[in-house]
């Protein structure tokens, strides 16, 4: 009994010590004050120095929380019970959140820095007039390849992947829209095509690529490509820059037939407790030098035109991640195809996955 009692006291004492030190740390960060801003973002998706600068400039204390997928983030927000002031969902999630009434319309008069955003990235199909969302980062879907493993051959188009020389050398990201999009694009159709004949044609074309496909994989595609397990892979540009950071031999290309253009955007969820600070933060992130510093830290492409001008030439001049206007014109944003069409895409993709060589 004495032993149990002692153990219990020990736990109580340790808990109190922990509690005090948490409070100490919190107040050293100034978290105890009333004026706080809770940001809900992807892991490691903002330069911590910028958060510190925002806190210093405005006196608002920032709580930074992270999520790992759009779906998880939407669940948390739609359930309530939290007070996230700013979140960064991807474009397809925004259409869905809009439909579900999870977002608050933005007050553009409080966002004077909005003028810094490249007009190419404004007023897109998922959010006409940027009523609910402001672009944060953008990118493309393309091909990472290893010239050394292809005898120095350059890849420029989707159709290069169908080359018999590529037998068993390709990895595909496990996404229905991405892979079906590759099939549609290679035939010259739109990524958002809903014409049944075109879709069947794309699927038939995809079936002929099976001998070349080594595997269809998830996030591990980054590691596999960096470790030279395959000669080429279809990935998002964000992943591509990471892969190339790990293995410099690799190169990335946005196929000439066109491809997908994706966005992560800043929104204010309906759960926001401090809308004033949320607007202030979004406006702060739109400042050119802030956007530039953030793009340099995260490594994704910034939609901020003025910010891009400040970035060193080796980043802003990299056509793989900042393609010229001619290429971007061919890029398409995913439309919200509706539940039924999306299910059809998934079905066709599943059939392709099951297709035997």
């Amino acid at each position: 009994m004495k032993q149990l009692f002692n153990a219990f006291i020990a736990i109580a004492v340790i808990s109190v010590i922990l509690y005090v030190s948490i409070n100490q740390l919190n107040s050293s960060q100034g978290y105890s004050g009333g004026n706080t801003l809770t940001i809900y973002n992807w892991g490691d998706y903002v330069d911590p120095e910028l958060i510190a600068r925002f806190e210093k400039e405005t006196g608002i204390k920032v709580i930074y929380q992270t999520f790992d997928s759009n779906e998880a983030m939407m669940t948390k927000i739609s359930q309530g019970g939290t007070t996230f002031d700013v979140a960064m969902p991807s474009e397809y999630a925004i259409s869905k959140m809009k439909e579900d009434g999870l977002l608050i319309p933005l007050d553009h008069s409080k966002l004077p820095n909005l003028k810094n955003i490249d007009t190419r990235f404004m007023d897109l199909s998922f959010d006409p007039g940027n009523q609910y969302s402001i672009p944060y980062f953008w990118g493309t879907v393309g091909i990472v390849y290893n010239p050394a493993m292809l005898n120095g051959k350059k890849i420029t188009s989707w159709n290069d992947l169908w080359d018999p020389e590529m037998k068993n050398k390709i990895l595909l990201a496990d996404g229905a829209r991405e892979v079906m999009g590759m099939g549609l694009n290679s035939l010259g159709y739109s990524l958002n095509d809903t014409n049944e004949a075109h879709l069947q044609e794309a699927k038939a074309k995809l079936n002929t690529i099976t001998p070349n496909v080594k595997a269809i994989v998830g996030d591990e595609i980054k590691m596999l490509l960096a470790n030279e397990e395959a000669a080429a892979g279809v990935v998002w540009s964000g992943d591509a820059s990471e892969i190339m950071g790990e293995n410099e031999k690799l190169d990335y290309v946005v196929p000439e037939e066109g491809s997908n253009l994706w966005f992560d955007n800043m929104v204010i969820p309906k759960t926001a407790a401090n809308r004033e600070a949320a607007h202030q933060f979004i406006n702060f992130m739109l400042e050119p030098d802030v956007a530039a510093q953030n793009a340099e830290y995260v490594g994704y492409s910034t939609p901020n035109k003025e910010g891009l001008a400040i970035l060193p030439e080796e980043i802003s001049g990299d056509e793989r991640f900042y393609p010229d206007t001619e290429t971007t014109e061919k890029l398409e944003v995913y439309d919200n195809l509706g539940k039924k069409m999306l299910a059809h895409y998934n079905e066709l993709f599943l059939e392709f996955k099951m297709h035997r060589k």
Binding site: M1, K2, Q3, L4, A7, F8, I11, A12, I14, S15, L18, Y19, S21, I22, L25, N26, S28, Q29, Y31, T36, T38, W42, G43, D44, Y45, I63, Y64, Q65, T66, F67, D68, A72, T75, K76, Q79, G80, G81, T82, T83, D219, K222, A226, E242, E246
Partner: protein, 267 residues
């Protein structure tokens, strides 16, 4: 015969090597100045420095610890009473029902438990944060403690209690002087099980964190999208060492107690 035992020793060494290899691999790279887990470039302690400078990460570590300690302590108390209740239920049917209900909670998937808690908390208006995480950790730990304590209670001969009552012990004295000392090892085992479950639980915690309150498992998981930095390796190394210290400490305490028991029975 001797050859056989050599073989089995070799087998044992092999199994442990496989079990510990990933941990040592991770620890090795926490000293890498290169910044990735691909090539070891040189020795550095920078990542450890970074752990102690990152206040946000430190707060999350402390949150994780305080939740683990409090939830396992509270669930140990609840679990012990639960186990006592199950043991002293007279009717066999009721007893089996209670036991089965306890087991169902252990085998039911974490994701389901987490989602149900999320719905429950938001329905009754508890803000997600410290309280919600603590409550849900207590909830999934209690059945584990019950399972750890029950065998000890069943092993205890009922004549011990009868003898104590015959000698004039009150109910309270029977509990604190006979039953609890007897089942102490079970209680500790339950406490440590609950502690480890709470420390590494992801699925349930994921659903109920919010409002600036997060634990390590959730934080590391969302970092994984961008590739985990070596700071996490350094932090994991530190936590692993602390865990080893705790285990060694616990080992010595039980060693000493065993020796004491051999000399004198009364305590």
């Amino acid at each position: 015969m001797r050859k056989n035992s050599k073989l089995s020793n070799l087998y044992l060494v092999l199994v442990f090597a496989i079990l510990y290899a990933p941990i040592f691999y991770l620890m090795y790279y926490s000293f890498n100045s290169g910044g990735t887990m691909r090539e070891f470039e040189g020795f550095t302690l920078d990542w450890y420095k970074e752990v102690f400078q990152d206040t946000r990460l430190l707060i999350i570590v402390l949150n994780t610890l305080i939740i683990a300690l409090l939830s396992s302590a509270i669930s140990t108390i609840l679990g012990v009473f639960g186990a006592l209740a199950i043991t002293y239920v007279k009717k066999r049917r009721t007893k089996n029902t209670l036991l089965t209900m306890n087991n169902v909670l252990i085998v039911s998937p974490d994701v389901i438990i987490g989602a149900s808690f999320l719905i429950l908390f938001t329905m009754i208006g508890i803000k997600l944060g410290f309280t919600s995480v603590l409550l849900s950790h207590i909830a999934f730990s209690v059945p584990i403690v019950v399972i750890m304590v029950l065998p000890k209670l069943e092993e205890m001969s009922s004549s011990l209690v009868d003898a104590a009552r015959d000698l004039g012990a009150s109910k309270w004295e029977v509990l604190t002087k006979v039953i609890l000392p007897y089942i102490t090892p079970g209680i500790f085992a339950g406490f440590f099980m609950a502690l480890t479950y709470s420390l590494d639980d992801f699925a349930v915690t994921f659903f109920v964190t919010g409002n600036g309150f997060s634990t390590l498992s959730v934080e590391i998981y969302s970092l994984a999208r961008q590739g985990i930095s070596l700071t996490i390796n350094a932090l994991s190394t530190l936590i692993f060492l602390v865990t080893i210290l705790l285990v060694v400490g616990y080992y010595f305490i039980t060693q000493r107690n065993n020796r004491v028991k051999g000399v004198a029975i009364r305590k």
